[in-house]
Structure formats: structure tokens, C-alpha cells
Subunit: 392 residues, 2 copies
Amino acid sequence: LENLPLGVFRRSDGAPRVGVAIGDHALDLAAAARRGLLDGLGLDVAVFEASSLNAVLGRGREVWSALRSRVRDLLSEPGSREVVEPLLASRMDLTMLLPIEVADFADFYASIHHATNMGLILRPGGEPLMPNWRHLPVGYHGRSSTVVVSGTPVTRPCGLIAPGGGTPALAPSRMLDIELEVGAVVGTGNPGGRPIAPDEFADHVFGFVLLNDWSARDIQAYEYQPLGPFLGKSFATSISPWVVPLEALRAYLVPGPPQDPPPDPYLRSEQAWAVDLDLAVDLNGQRVASTNFASMYWTLAQALAHLTVNGAVVRTGDLLGSGTVSGPDPGTYGSLMELTWRGRDPLPLADGSSRTFLEDGDTVSLTGWCQREGRPRIGFGEVAGTVVPARG
Amino acid sequence: LENLPLGVFRRSDGAPRVGVAIGDHALDLAAAARRGLLDGLGLDVAVFEASSLNAVLGRGREVWSALRSRVRDLLSEPGSREVVEPLLASRMDLTMLLPIEVADFADFYASIHHATNMGLILRPGGEPLMPNWRHLPVGYHGRSSTVVVSGTPVTRPCGLIAPGGGTPALAPSRMLDIELEVGAVVGTGNPGGRPIAPDEFADHVFGFVLLNDWSARDIQAYEYQPLGPFLGKSFATSISPWVVPLEALRAYLVPGPPQDPPPDPYLRSEQAWAVDLDLAVDLNGQRVASTNFASMYWTLAQALAHLTVNGAVVRTGDLLGSGTVSGPDPGTYGSLMELTWRGRDPLPLADGSSRTFLEDGDTVSLTGWCQREGRPRIGFGEVAGTVVPARG
């Protein structure tokens, strides 16, 4: 009753339904609305029979909050139990859909540990962080069309690759990697492009998902100068199906690390926007990394402020990725690039094999949870995907 | 009758309507459909009462072609003149809307003259073209939410700027520029991410628009390492309101320049996909550049093939920008960056003033037309915008 994440599932009759997860079950909000249980919230049945959460999210913070309170009442009041129970389905029986119709997808690079590692790996001998890195949350735009829900197979991408630095040729990526990230889902935008201050974050962002920004390091290495990552990232980005409301995370909002030098005033906040969220990477069922999201140098509140300071419009369904979450130590890195130091140190697996990058058939699962004594546990579920061979 | 571009306008009663431009007039296709004049095409009235062309474009090439034939018949058959005339409105009386709901926006860097100039300006003394440039059409993803229709004022963006290389500060851009581009509008996508060969271009792309990729060079210079342009581009991208069908351009499709080295097979085509399209830049009514789109090293057909070779999904409403169109000589450059060589050579204006970059109140108009003896003239209209001061 403390989490109440929203998602979209397909019923056995094929119709999409907006629902709320409660433990191993999901409450069908369309069915609840049809029975009048959600009356007075200004939300008609159609917004819950939609194939995405966008219609609900577009209604704004007061409606999100009122819906949340109503669902909590329905689930906790003794009198309404028998009304609600027929509306619950076992989550094991449900097919989850992509929860949002993604408008724009912007991805950041907000972990100082990840950015430093990438600098050390790709530009050895140089200063690992670019001069701009401590002054702004570096970001770029990704592709919206290839954001997919957890469980979607990931086809190994092809692209131009020049392994020895010679003439490039089209080939399947041999350096397929993951990036452990957290994504913020925008509920209400900023018509006209009014800049959003970091402390206005909760007025615009409904909640968070886990995000795996699959990356083909060899395609990216060849293509990225001078305009940044493109095909090395645009083949697939997976997100978890249940969007955890920001409102559920209040007890876990903590100050981020100190920022030195202090950022420009447009990036400063009074409130704490880092999240004490434990994260883990499992490869074929074996834990290969554990980290915490509170280690990020830039918060997603700062990322949203940066994204809009130039007058850019954000809209319902915008997705902001944090960038790879890596901590300071080897076991806390959120990519194989870092965990194997670009393949130099293969990762031993329990079956006796080892990995530098992903092989066909590998399954990666990212999980997340907030859990501290005296506070409710908030689970993020997982975002998983299995690599399938490149197109023939 | 040879062009018949599609657009969306707002009638005096406020309702959006899909229309076709014919000379100084526009034919209201919703009104035509209501009168049964478009029967048998499989297009109901609703697709013409929409606020974008997406519904029409999503129907596919055969429908685009059938609609085009029907409209041409309506406008040319003597018997239907009196039926059609009441459905025509003067274009001067119409407010044009953004013609497409933009799905993903990918922008390329396909002019060898532009890329060479940018290399010479930004990395003097080095090799102007990156090693990858002649092997693939370099591109990146832009922001869809801030694509606007011609005539929309462009607010001068703010961003972190470090003019002397010291500590950056938030300030209005002082190096606001234009980029003269052509955009391809995707009508039907590639479900499942099947790669699209260059010679399949016409099965997926409905037509072309003119595109001004407004750019804040100082914001971009500070932010762009290592992930590419972001806020320096994402504040506004303007497109022309009438989408010129690819089918109208058949007589102007020409081979592009020779490509050396020959590109990888996935980028090769049998058909000619460059367009003999004259383009011009007017600043406050004064012509400052004239160029031709056939000079581009990479065609938009190659750009689409590249975009999808990794399995990326394209969808109805996707917009692909060509990148700045610059020819080999100073008067043929498509940006102020090149025309003034990053401000070194101010551009004299007729009123006695001069420009390095854009000032508040400046109006930029990009125009385009195909015109050769013995072939029909195909006009692209214009994409215009006036710079308004930064937010206070």
C-alpha cells in the first residue's frame, strides 16, 4: 500500500488495461472505474482502457495524488475488500505492455564514477572528465521508437565496425553491452517551454522506472565523432513495466553528493532529489554488480532543469534516463564496459564460462528496491531482456 | 497540378483541415470527402479533419498515389470545376499548422562542404573531415517536441556559455545561427525494425519539407563533448507547412556526387535519390545564400538506410533532416557560421548594418524550388521565423 505503481497490462481478452500493482496482484482500474469506485476523480473509464498511462499522467499531480489515495482506501478499508477482490488479477497471468507512449527520450551521463571510468578507458592518459562535466548534466537525445518493455527480446544490432581501425564493414556488434539506469517519466509538461526549476520536479515527473540502455560499443566507437551516439544506442532501450510514483519515494529522497564547483543557480535546489535506491545487475541469473542510485553526481531534477533551461518543451510521456549508474568500486559498475574494463578482465560466470560482452542467449535483469529500517519497502521490479542473434 | 503538396490549416471556425495547395489556393479535403469526391480511396472524412497528416501518411504509398490522382482529376476535369471551386480557400486567409505530429527526429550531416567548413572552423590545422565521414552518413537524434511550423517566433535560447574558456554562466546565446536543411517525412515505417534499403525510400517516405535547424553555436560549443549537440539545437526546429510529395519530384531526382571510397553495400542504390532543388536563404528580405540540394554527398535515401540498418524502428511522422546544405563556394553556404566564418567576416546588409550571428528581430526565410526547362516547376514555399528576445 506504500508503493502502488502504475502499469498497463493486456487481459486475456486482449484489451489493454491500466492497473496498480499490489504485491503479487494487479488491480484493474478500468473495472474499478466501471463499478463507480473511482468516481469524483475526474477520470473517466476510457483513460484506464488505454494502451498507455499517458492519459492518466497528463492530468497532473493533484489527480495522481487523489487516485493514489482512493486506491489506498479501496485496498485498506475493511468494507471495500469484497468489492475489490474480484478486480484483482494475479500478476503472473498478465502480459505487461510498455507503460508509456514515449514522447522524447533524453539520456544523461550523470554518474561521476561512470564518466570517469569511460574517460579512463577511452582516452587513457588524458583527463578523464571533460571540462564541462562538473558544470552541467551532459546529455543527448535518444530514439523514442525503440523504447520497449521488459521481456522484449533484444536483437543483436548490425552496424559499421572497424575493429583494427581500417576500412569499416557492416557486421553484428561484438561488443554488446548494457547500461544500468533509472528513468524519470514526465507526467505534465511545460507548455511554451517555460524552464522548470529543480524544485518543481514533483509537479512534472510522475515517477521512475528501471532502464537498460543497451549499447553496441563497437558501433558507437566508430560512429560517434562529432555528433555523439546514434546507432550504437538506437536499436533498443528497455524499461520496467511498473512506474513507481515519486510520491511513494518520499522517505528515500536524500541529498546527492556535494557538487564542486557549485553549479550555476538554475541547477541548484533546496530539496533533496537523490534517491536512496539499491540497484543490481544479474547476468544469466548471477549477480554481477550492486550499486546505489544516490551516488549519482547529478540528480534527475537537475537533468530536467537543464533540459528545459533553453526553452525546450517537455510533454506527457517524456522519458529522462539518468545515464549508467556506477559506484566507486569495481563491483558497483553498471556496464560490462566498466566491469570487464573494455574486455581486459573477463567476468567469470558460475557455469565456468566468462564474458567480456554479451553473447547470444544471455539474459540481463536489472532490479531495484528502496529498503531501510523503519521505512516501507518500495520495489521497482525488474527490467529484463534476452539477446537474440543478429538478423541473417 | 504537378506539385499538389499536403498541409494542415486552421479554418476560420478553428477546426483543423487537411488540404492540398494549388497555386494561391488550398483545397479543403475534408469538405471534398464530405461531398463524396474522395469516395473509394479507403479514406474516411476523419483523416482529413485531423490536426496532422499522420493518418493520411500512415495509409501507405498506394493510397498517397490514389489520392493524388483523384485530386488531380478533380482539378482538371472540366465537369468537376464547379463542384470544386466552393471548396477552395485563398491561402492568404489560412493559418497553417505543423503538418505532422513528429515521431522521432533524426538529423544528419550530409554535406561534404558543410562538414569540411565546420572542421576547418572548429579544428583549424587538423584534418577537417573525421575518418568516419566518407563511410557513413553521420547523424544524431534531435528533439521532436520543439519542431514548429514556419512563422512561429523563435525565442533566443539561454544556456551555459563560457566565452573565454573560463567558468561558464547561464546567458542568452550570442551566436544564434540558422541551418538550411531539407527534411524527409516518413509516411510508413518498418514494423519490427526491418532495415530499409536506399531503393525502398519511396515506399516509406511521403515527401519533403524545408527545415531550419536553428542553432546556438556558443551553447553547443560548451556542451557537445562527448555526447553531441543537445540544448544548442533543441530550442526550435522550423519546417515549412506544405509537404511536397516525393512523387512530384520524379523529374528532379538526379545522381548524387561520386562517393569515394564506395560505401558499404547497405548504402548503395540503383536509383538516383539526390534532388535538383534550388535553395535560398534570405535575411531580413535580403538574399545571403543560394545553393542546390543535389550537392549533398549523402542522399536522404542513404540516411534512412543507415538509420535502420541496426534494427531501429521508424514510424509515421518521423522526420529526417539532411543537415546543413552548403555548396563549395562562400555564397552557397547554408549557415551564418560558414557565411561569416564564425564571425570573422561580418555579412553586410542593405540597411548599412552587418551581421555575424542573428540579432533580435531578425527574420530568416528559407525557400526552395525545382525548375528546369521542359519540366514542371515544383515550389517548396518557405520556412520563416523571427528571432524574439530571450526570456527575461
